[in-house]
């Protein structure tokens, strides 16, 4: 398990990095935390000719709240997001979900943007991005563009980024008042990719769900948002009926793949069970005014 020979660059500016990506095209790979890329290299499943290490680009190391958005630069480690009180306040779902990513050691190195760019269909953070409606900021030498999360994930391990683009920032909208968020997951062990996970937000006023967001990991080729289940929550009443309707929508509409860990019907079943659990939790948080995650 030794990688094939590759050329290694560690630019100190975004411009240099973009230059390298433009020069080497699909033969180049960005190295962020390396928690997904290095295993692939060592197994020789990935054989890039060039690695562009972005760990020396200090300008990508920022976490900022700005006009209703939490901006997460490409070098921000998952552990930072997990521990920062501002994140817990602004995007509580992100703070809660990130703890399900591997273990502390992994999160010390792994980056938020790396997880998004890696686009594992069972990963937590892409589901969060879809649930809250995050936007990905991609830059290439040609310029910058913003890609809504729902358009960013195009397939298993596949995104809308082109080979010469760097994901420089992920932007998460800050949670508006009245919303409660929650993330639940079933995995074989703590720290594994989800057999199924659901990220949810509900906006509650006078005890009624006014708005809802639901996104699933491990339930399809990309993180899946389920507008039909959201509608069921919004329009159903009393809450128990709404929940039942949302769960049955989840079971009906999701098309998870089977793999060695879980059959498709188990995943579908989990999606239903977890929908109920996550919405109850989010609802309670919205009502309590806790806004989001456990402290």
């Amino acid at each position: 398990m030794k990688p094939q020979v590759f050329a290694y660059h560690d630019p100190s500016s975004v411009e240099e990095a973009l230059e390298l990506l433009a020069r080497h095209g699909p033969g180049a790979k960005v190295l962020a935390g390396g928690q997904s890329l290095l295993p692939l290299l060592n197994l020789r499943l990935a054989r890039p000719e060039v690695l562009v290490d972005i760990n020396r680009i200090d300008s990508l190391d920022y976490l900022a709240e700005e006009s209703g958005w939490l901006r997460v630069g490409a070098r921000v480690r998952q552990r930072w997001v997990e521990r920062d009180p501002a994140v817990r306040r602004a995007v509580p779902l992100l703070a809660e979900a990130v703890r399900y990513v591997g273990h502390v050691q992994i999160r010390n190195r792994g980056t938020v943007c790396g997880s998004l760019a890696h686009a594992d269909p069972a990963a937590e953070l892409p589901a969060v991005a879809v649930a809250v409606g995050a936007r990905m900021v991609a830059r290439s030498r040609a310029g910058a563009r913003e890609i809504p999360a729902e358009e960013f994930f195009t397939g298993p391990l596949s995104t809308a980024l082109s080979p010469d683009e760097l994901l420089v920032e992920a932007r998460f909208p800050c949670s508006p008042p009245g919303w409660g968020w929650a993330f639940v997951e079933v995995s074989n062990r703590h720290g594994d990719y989800a057999l199924c996970a659901v990220a949810a937000g509900v906006c509650v006023a006078d005890g009624r769900v006014r708005d809802a967001r639901l996104a699933y990991a491990g339930a399809g080729p990309v993180p899946v948002r389920l507008p039909q289940a959201e509608t069921a929550l919004r329009e159903g009443w009393p809450l128990e009926d709404a929940l039942r309707a949302a769960c049955s929508e989840a079971r009906r509409l999701l098309e998870p793949e089977a793999d060695i860990h879980a059959s498709a019907d188990f995943r579908r079943h989990l999606a239903g069970v977890l929908t109920e659990r996550v919405v109850r939790l989010a609802y309670r948080r919205a009502v309590d005014g806790a806004g989001g995650a456990r402290a």
Partner: protein, 779 residues
């Protein structure tokens, strides 16, 4: 004997060194000029090799040597040695160092490359062209037994390597008069040990001295040395095998040989340079032995009081592609099955079957978890049918403390009669039940239920054969410095021998345990022995250590008696001195005694048995000794997500006299963790073409500290009469009953569903489908 050290929970001598990274594992061996090997492995489960072209690899600028079967010397072209033959093992097929014309499992070595770096060696592997003609893969065990869809070894005309029957009494007659006969099929699927340190070999050849030194992460350095000497035509004295620190063995490292163990020395001899090969994790999953798959069709016959009249098990054992290690696993399984119960009539019959999968040899438990799973499940299900309490059915069938030695009537893995030496089975169960408050369980369970929680209580009993022969030996030497050096042939893979053996010696010689330095696993330090397996090191090597230490003690007294002009009976050993009892000022240090025992002039009396404060002794037990225990646990089941959480885990463990409770607890904790892993989290999943789909830690889920509960250990001590320490083996007890216990606990937690768990390991998806099926059956 004063036992200041033995029996105390002292910390391990080896830990400071290991914890600060000063251990010496095989990959830590760095030699000048060392080069690196990599192995080309079959990507197919079953295929004919039509052509191998290694020319491009040989031309790689960093490549020094490429070996295929054709390049091997005659002795290495033969199949590797057959270990542990058995009359019922008709087809003792063993693997080749490099496959000649056919590959029989994914991962089987096909070519071997040595280059200046491992990375270059891996580059070169990709340059070797092999044309395979894939054959149908033999994956399903029952199909395999029927010879379908192909023969793993065509020349024997069958996939059945062995058919073996053992009988006690007359099961058919017992069945005919039974009140209840309950039959079930039990399936245990593959598992593997996953030691943190994978295998690894470094070899160095000194062409002038004609001496070969091999560092090998093995459990059996001495047999490896003897085998290498025979293969390469060297004297045993000219081969040194060192198993330095070994980062976990658990059974698979007892093999002899794995192909790399002969290929690395061969390459070192060909090249005249040290060669290193370190198995990577991906190789480990494919090329280090697995265990566990067995399908048991089992039956129990009972009278109306729940007394066992007889048991029958007819089972298939998946041997994998070859069967180098013989029939140990299925024999241990059938011999463990009766457990602590009186089984007057017993019929055990198995077929060991070749499949196109990784080779099987013992892994911690080694058949015992299977036997216990079958027996405990039969009792649980029978109790249910009889409307009897599951503890009560066990109480009625236990062998009683006065019945020892108890002859089970079978022949065990050491070819000796299976005779339990001692034990107290009822007491162990009662202690475990008390610890989990079994008598109050119905109310407690109802309370959980009222909170909406599904919690089940499970427990399981087992007897663990351990401490088998043939022998181990030990040399104890006191040097003039007063320090004590102990050398034994068994290897150490984390069991704490550097401490427990030191405790035995420290007590005998009256020295501080930290002044006792133990060397294990270096054939240059001690050249006789068999290895660390079957929970035998503490019992067999420990007893040899004890005998050698006692001999040194006697000699110290004799020598000191001359120095102190006293009679040996009036002397005592304490604090590193030999003292006249009652007159401590009249004393001489052990170091001085050692010096006096090796004089430059004068006469050595015959009773000294030679010079020096040193003695070598061997211990050869007549047969194995039998530990036993009971585990009990509270397990919470989420029936909607089919996941588990252990709330409590209690172990009552009886391995005779406890040498070091701290080390023993560690053995048990590790065992339970491995048992839980093997029962619910870890799975080796093969597809229909014989590919392993869970061959990395991404998919093979070893539980972490999050999944493993606090483990509460109670020690019960029933000494063994078979060895001077009264000790019994403790290496495997932690894992053995876990599958049986877990099945019972889940059934208890979901008792309204009337589940029957007859397969292991489980995992969330399997449990989900069991629950769904049970729900569908409900009215």
């Amino acid at each position: 004997m004063a036992t200041r050290w033995l029996g105390s929970p002292i910390k391990r001598n080896e830990d400071p060194r290991l914890l600060v990274g000063q251990g010496l594992f095989v990959d830590d061996v760095q030699l000048p000029g060392m080069v690196h090997a990599a192995v080309l492995r079959s990507p197919h489960a079953h295929a004919r090799i039509l052509r191998i072209d290694a020319r491009r690899a040989s031309q790689h600028p960093e490549v020094l040597l490429v070996l295929t079967h054709a390049d091997l010397p005659p002795a290495l072209k033969e199949p590797l040695p057959k270990l542990i033959p058995h009359p019922d093992l008709k087809h003792h097929k063993t693997q080749y160092a490099l496959a000649p014309d056919k590959v029989r499992h994914v991962g089987e070595p096909v070519a071997f490359v040595v280059a200046t770096s491992r990375a270059a060696a891996e580059d070169a592997l990709e340059l070797i062209e092999v044309d395979y003609d894939p054959l149908p893969a033999v994956v399903d065990l029952e199909e395999a037994a029927a010879g379908r869809p192909a023969l793993v070894h065509e020349d024997i005309g069958t996939n059945v390597a062995a058919h073996s029957v053992q009988r006690v009494g007359d099961y058919e007659a017992a069945r005919a008069r039974a009140h209840l006969v309950l039959a079930r099929r039990f399936v245990v699927d593959r598992g593997c040990a996953s030691p943190i340190e994978t295998r690894g070999v470094v070899a160095q050849w000194d062409p002038k001295a004609r001496q070969l030194t091999v560092w090998d992460s093995t459990q059996a350095p001495i047999p490896i040395r003897n085998g290498l000497a025979a293969l390469f035509g060297l004297a045993q004295k000219d081969v040194r095998v060192v198993a330095p620190d070994v980062g976990g063995g658990f059974g698979p490292k007892i093999m002899m040989f794995y192909p790399e163990e002969v290929l690395v020395p061969l390459a070192a001899m060909r090249l005249g340079r040290p060669v290193k090969w370190i198995e990577d994790r991906r190789e480990h999953f494919l090329a280090t032995n697995h265990e566990r798959t067995q399908i048991h069709d089992a039956e129990i016959a009972l009278d109306q009081d729940g007394r066992i009249l007889g048991v029958r098990t007819v089972f298939l054992h998946d041997a994998g592609a070859y069967i180098p290690y013989g029939l140990i696993v299925p024999i241990v399984a059938e011999c463990t099955l009766p457990g602590p119960y009186r089984v007057p009539n017993y019929h055990a019959e198995f077929r060991a079957v070749f499949t196109n999968k990784t080779i099987v040899s013992p892994y911690r438990g080694a058949g015992r978890p299977h036997g216990v799973f079958v027996m405990e499940r039969l009792l649980d299900l029978a109790a249910r049918q009889l409307g009897m309490d599951r503890a009560e059915i066990r109480r009625r069938n236990f062998i009683q403390p006065h019945e020892f030695p108890y002859d089970v009537g079978l022949i065990y893995q050491d070819n000796a009669p299976l005779i339990y030496d001692s034990g107290n089975y009822p007491a162990a169960l009662e202690r475990a039940l008390e610890a989990v408050e079994y008598d109050r369980w119905p109310e407690q369970k109802a309370r959980y239920r009222a909170e909406g929680r599904r919690v089940g209580l499970g427990f399981a009993c087992y007897v663990e054969g351990s401490g088998i022969g043939p022998y181990e030996g030990c040399r104890v030497t006191v040097e003039p410095s007063g320090k004590v050096f102990v050398a034994t042939g068994v290897g150490t893979q984390g069991q704490g021998h550097f401490t427990s053996f030191a405790q035995v010696v420290a007590d005998a010689l009256g020295v501080d345990v930290q002044d006792v330095h133990v060397v294990t696993g270096d054939t240059a330090a001690f050249g006789w022995g068999t290895g660390t397996f079957a929970s035998r090191a503490a019992v067999v090597a420990g007893s040899a250590v004890h005998l050698a230490a006692k001999a040194v003690q006697q000699k110290a007294l004799q020598v000191a008696a001359t120095l102190l002009e006293a009679s040996p009976e009036d002397l005592e050993l304490a604090d590193g001195y030999v003292r006249v009892r009652g007159a401590p000022s009249r004393s001489v240090s052990l170091g001085e005694v050692a010096r006096a025992a090796n004089p430059l002039r004068g006469v050595i009396p015959a009773e000294w048995e030679g010079p020096g404060l040193e003695a070598t002794r061997y211990f050869a037990p007549p047969r194995g000794t039998f530990s036993h225990g009971v585990h009990a646990a509270l397990v919470e089941v989420d029936p909607e997500t089919a996941t588990l959480r252990f709330l409590r885990y209690v172990v009552v463990h009886d391995c005779g006299v406890v040498l070091n409770p701290l080390i023993l607890d560690g053995q048990i904790h590790g065992g339970v963790a491995q048992g839980i892993g093997g029962a619910f989290f870890e799975r080796l999943v093969y597809d229909g073409s014989g590919q392993l789909l869970s061959g990395s830690f991404m998919d093979f889920h070893i539980p972490t500290a999050v999944e493993i509960p606090e483990i509460e250990v109670h020690h019960q001590e029933t000494p063994s009469p078979l060895n001077p320490l009264g000790a019994k083996g403790a290496g495997e007890g932690g894992v053995i009953p876990v599958p049986a216990l877990l099945a019972q606990a889940i059934e208890d937690a979901l008792d309204d569903l009337d589940l029957e768990i007859t397969q292991m390991p489980l995992h969330p998806d399997a449990l989900f489908h069991l629950i769904q099926a049970a729900r569908r059956r409900q009215p």
